[in-house]
């Protein structure tokens, strides 16, 4: 109760002011009643809940859900004018203090999602903390469009870019503030994977570790190089294992495509002395273009399709077939814009191409104003610097570069080869060209149809920030390809089984235990987060073969393996194509591009077209727990083309787990996975 003194201190409100306030409140109440009457009883409760709830999570219902257009016939996206929007750069995430304070054990009392305690918490106490909140928002994909309903981190698409330095452990609090009730394409649960961080399992966004609206989860990123156990120093780990370009994205089991299509992803970049966030000369620096958003720009690529613009709702919604897989595409977006333009100066730029899918792969080439192909230099694949940079040009033997779903390619484009006033085009070569407008505008350059152009670079002047020196001939000394432990190799196969749905055809087997596809149809199991199909010992190295038995021309599966970067030893193609599985003698090695070859590159996405097989080597270091191998075509991973495998700590545990896996397999009429000597 305020005493008389308090009353005196407060300025008296005049009668007129009081009346005005009352009138306003009455007005708003009246308007609200009118609105709710129009919108139906469903909305009446909303404002009450918003005010009565303590949790801010429930305030997110304020962005109206999309009114979706009919799924059949599939709509053509509205037309757009090319090259009118400037390429936006996702804003950097801003470090912030977190309340409640992050803890080693899950703080369930304050709403943290259940999880294992953080591994190596005391060793890598987070020095920087961020909060990224998944919530509904709107985003305008083009000037000619009205805003679209999206789900994004901090309500933005793409999400903020997290910028981190090696040696500075970070923690990102992913908060689920998605709508409590949703009728959209997405599912309001999430688990966020940092692709492809060397991350402990409980922070890795395991597909089964999803959490509900109103909860949050702290993902702890050590920001140390792989090999923490074996290498001291600062930052800890083997510096040759540095990774630079990551992206974080929703990994909700069975709904990953939908939630990513809704916009739940963003970039995460790491810096070290080799690739610092500046261009001036510092010890060890490669001096690549490095100013974020100025000369070093992430290009978050996504395929989309849109419904017709609806003036009543004020929206141009993304096309979604709710209850089904992610739809096809007829628009290409870069950083959330359709056919944007970027003003550049005559110097080098680093572009970090990130394919966020959700289903299709990109194939890029660069073309000048005369339509002639111009060179780009690949410096990193899947975020890992190449030993020797590789040119993508008409003469290098690699005229185009493929960026498969979830893959990243860092390319450097030197615009000093162009004149002021030139326009340069990034062209997509393999997908159906996007729909621009009717009639189709003429090609902006000879041989470059408008629908194939992803974005345009306008050379507007000479460099203001001095150009970086030429790209060094050697970027990084790669660690030696690790020797595999005896045993294996284990084969991860996409089998061809007529009549079987996708996802029931991906399984692990032992390369020395022959089997044909047909006799094991009944033993193919879809992904189950509670079932582990393979166990490996922490600190060990294994050879894995990833093979795709489906016929040539069928789906290319971009396979992703969590936790570790791998080295591709060889790629083989079947010379005697067979749906029942290729005999090892019929697999012939083929040449690999320099951004794939294990002697020059490290990868975490392994593209496997039909009838191909890849032999890779992987070390499993520093962390234990549950990890995944899956096809990163997100419709495929949602169809359970995904397998859980575990890293265990001790030989005894390994033996237990492997014996159990063998017993389970034999019990369902399958071959055992491990031979006696591999049981540990």
């Amino acid at each position: 109760m305020p005493g008389p003194r308090d009353k005196k201190k407060r300025p008296e409100e005049s009668k007129a002011e009081k009346e005005k306030k009352f009138e306003l409140s009455r007005l708003s109440r009246r308007t609200m009643l009118k609105l709710t009457a129009a919108a139906g009883a469903g909305t009446v409760l909303a404002p009450m809940i918003l005010t009565s709830r303590k949790s801010t999570a429930y305030a997110q219902g304020t962005v109206a859900e999309p009114v979706l257009c009919a799924p059949t016939p599939v709509p053509q996206s509205p037309p757009h004018t090319p090259f009118v929007d400037d390429l936006p750069v996702p804003s950097p995430a801003i470090p912030q203090f977190l309340s409640p304070f992050p803890t080693e054990n899950a703080n369930t009392a304050h709403g943290e999602a259940a999880r294992d305690p953080h591994q190596r918490w005391a060793e890598f106490t987070p020095a920087v903390t961020y909060q990224l909140e998944a919530r509904a928002g709107t985003h305008q994909f083009h000037r000619d469009y009205l805003p679209s309903y999206i789900w994004g981190f901090n309500g933005k698409y793409p999400g903020p870019t997290v910028l981190n330095a090696y040696g500075v452990p970070s923690l990102v609090r992913f908060k689920n503030s998605l709508p409590v009730t949703t009728s959209s394409f997405g599912t309001n649960k999430t688990t966020v994977h940092l692709h492809n961080g060397h991350t402990a399992s409980e922070s890795d966004g395991f597909a089964g570790d999803f959490f509900d609206t109103g909860l949050f989860k702290d993902n702890h990123y050590a920001n140390a190089y792989a090999g923490i156990d074996d290498f001291g120093g600062f930052p800890k780990g083997d510096p040759r294992e540095a990774q630079y370009t990551y992206w974080y994205h929703d990994h909700l089991m069975a709904e990953t495509a939908n939630n990513n299509y809704m916009g739940m992803n963003g970039a995460y970049l790491s810096y070290n002395q080799l690739s610092p966030p500046w261009e001036f000369n510092t010890p060890g620096s490669l001096r690549l273009p490095a100013y974020y958003g100025v000369t070093d720009i992430p290009l978050v690529l996504a395929f989309k399709r849109f419904c017709a613009t609806d003036a009543n709702t004020g929206r141009t919604e993304m096309f979604q077939v709710v209850g089904a897989a992610a739809p096809g595409t007829d628009k290409f977006t870069v950083n959330g814009k359709i056919q944007p333009k970027l003003s550049v100066r005559r110097r080098k730029y680093r572009f970090r191409l990130i394919n966020t899918g959700v289903v299709l792969n990109w194939n890029f080439s660069l073309h000048g104003p005369d339509g002639a192909q111009k060179p780009m230099t690949v410096v990193a694949s899947d975020g890992n610097l190449l030993h020797t940079p590789a040119d993508v040009s008409a003469t290098s033997g690699f005229p185009t570069i493929e960026v498969h779903v979830a893959s990243r390619m860092d390319v450097i484009i030197d615009f000093s080869q162009f004149s002021i006033g030139d326009s340069v085009y990034l062209k997509e070569n393999t997908q159906t060209p996007q729909f621009v407008s009717t009639p189709t505008p003429p090609p902006p350059a000879p041989g470059v149809p408008i629908g194939t152009v992803v974005m345009r670079f306008d050379v507007v002047g000479n460099a203001i920030i001095p150009d970086t020196p030429p790209i060094p001939d050697t970027l990084i000394e790669l660690p030696p390809i690790p020797a595999a432990q005896p045993g294996g190799p284990f084969e991860w196969g996409f089998r061809f089984i007529p009549g079987q749905a996708d996802g029931n055809n991906f399984r692990v087997s032992h390369s020395s235990i022959p089997e044909d596809n047909a006799s094991h149809v009944a033993t193919f199991l879809p992904f189950d987060p509670f079932r582990s199909d393979h166990a490996v010992l922490r600190g060990s190295t294994e050879e894995w073969i990833i093979r795709n038995d489906t016929l040539a021309g069928a789906w290319l599966h971009p396979v992703h393996i969590h936790l570790e970067e791998g080295r591709i030893l060889e790629r083989r193609v079947c010379t005697v194509p067979s749906a029942t599985g290729c005999l090892p003698a019929n697999r012939t090695p083929v040449a690999m591009p320099p951004w794939e070859d294990g002697n020059n590159a490290r990868r975490d996405v392994y593209p496997v077209p039909g009838q191909h097989s890849l032999k890779i080597r992987l070390a499993f270091r520093d962390f234990h727990g549950r990890y995944l191998i899956h096809c990163h075509n997100m419709n495929h991973e949602d169809a359970f083309m995904m397998v859980r495998w575990d890293v265990v700590e001790t030989m005894a545990e390994l033996r237990n787990r492997r014996e159990e896996i063998n017993a389970d397999r034999v019990a369902r009429g399958d071959t055992p996975l491990y031979r006696k000597e591999e049981l540990g």
């Binding site: 919108a39 469903g42 909305t43 009446v44 409760l45 909303a46 809940i49 949790s55 999570a57 429930y58 219902g61 859900e65 999309p66 009114v67 979706l68 009919a70 799924p71 059949t72 899950a106 369930t108 709403g111 259940a114 999880r115 709508p179 409590v180 009730t181 949703t182 009728s183 959209s184 599912t187 509900d212 609206t213 109103g214 909860l215 089991m253 069975a254 709904e255 077939v321 709710v322 209850g323 089904a324 897989a325 739809p327 096809g328 009549g499 749905a501 996802g503 199991l525 879809p526 992904f527 189950d528 509670f530 079932r531 234990h624 549950r626 169809a639 359970f640 700590e649 545990e653 019990a667």
Partner: protein
């Protein structure tokens, strides 16, 4: 195997109705109604005439799959799994949760054939309806509800037979699941279309999951299946 029995309790916690009601008001797009579902006149395995939207879908939470009586590949396995789903969610079946199995070969499958199929698979259960009707209507429904927008899939009726659609018409929530996935996965996905839980309930379930993780860590030294 034994360890796995632990977590089967996951799907069983049902939100109380009072708690559910408290979060129903957040605005969301209304069900498109017959505009998508159609209101076609269909016939059940009991030879009863029903309107697809008005009688079967409106305001309900339903599971829809496709089958045909003579199907010998996926349908029997899928139906067997659906029987397990039915057993697991028995308390709700016929009350706020329904299963509809629609034939893709209405020319062959009359109510009799469907009833025989249901009987054969022990699926003659309250709350589970097998449906046939005019081929044009059924095809329309199939395209509207199961459109995967891939011509090779949409024209191949067999490709549809292992696909379970989960719809809550009251909240206009649509999901799908591969019914051949593990039972815990199928039940989880069905629960994702349940009326929303209250914040308190989410917190409570999260606490329980943490307790389960801690229990497993104590027992095995690591998180096994939680």
């Amino acid at each position: 195997m034994k360890r796995r029995k632990f977590f089967t309790s996951l799907g069983s916690d049902k939100p109380s109705n009072a708690l559910r009601a408290s979060v129903q008001g957040v605005p969301h797009a209304a069900s498109p109604g017959p505009a998508i579902f159609t209101n076609a006149l269909l016939r059940t395995h009991e030879n009863k005439a029903v309107r697809f939207y008005d009688d079967l879908i409106k305001g309900k939470q339903v599971l829809i799959n496709l089958m045909y009586a003579t199907c010998e590949s996926a349908c029997p396995i899928v139906t067997a799994n659906l029987v397990k789903v039915y057993e697991a969610l028995k308390d709700r079946m016929g009350k706020d949760l329904f299963i509809y199995s629609m034939t893709v070969k209405p020319e062959e499958d009359g109510p009799e054939a469907l009833k025989d199929f249901a009987e054969m698979h022990r699926a003659l259960l309250p709350g589970w309806t097998f449906l046939t009707g005019d081929p044009y209507d059924l095809e329309t429904i199939r395209y509207r509800l199961f459109a995967m927008n891939h011509i090779a899939i949409d024209t191949n009726i067999y490709g549809h037979t292992s696909f379970l659609l989960i719809i809550n018409d009251a909240t206009n929530r649509w999901l799908h699941v591969d019914p051949l996935a593990s039972m815990s996965t199928v039940l989880r996905k069905i629960s994702w279309a349940d009326p929303p839980k209250s914040h308190e309930q989410i917190m409570e379930e999260n606490k329980k999951l943490q307790e389960q993780i801690d229990r497993e860590r104590k027992m095995f030294g690591y998180r096994m299946n939680a």
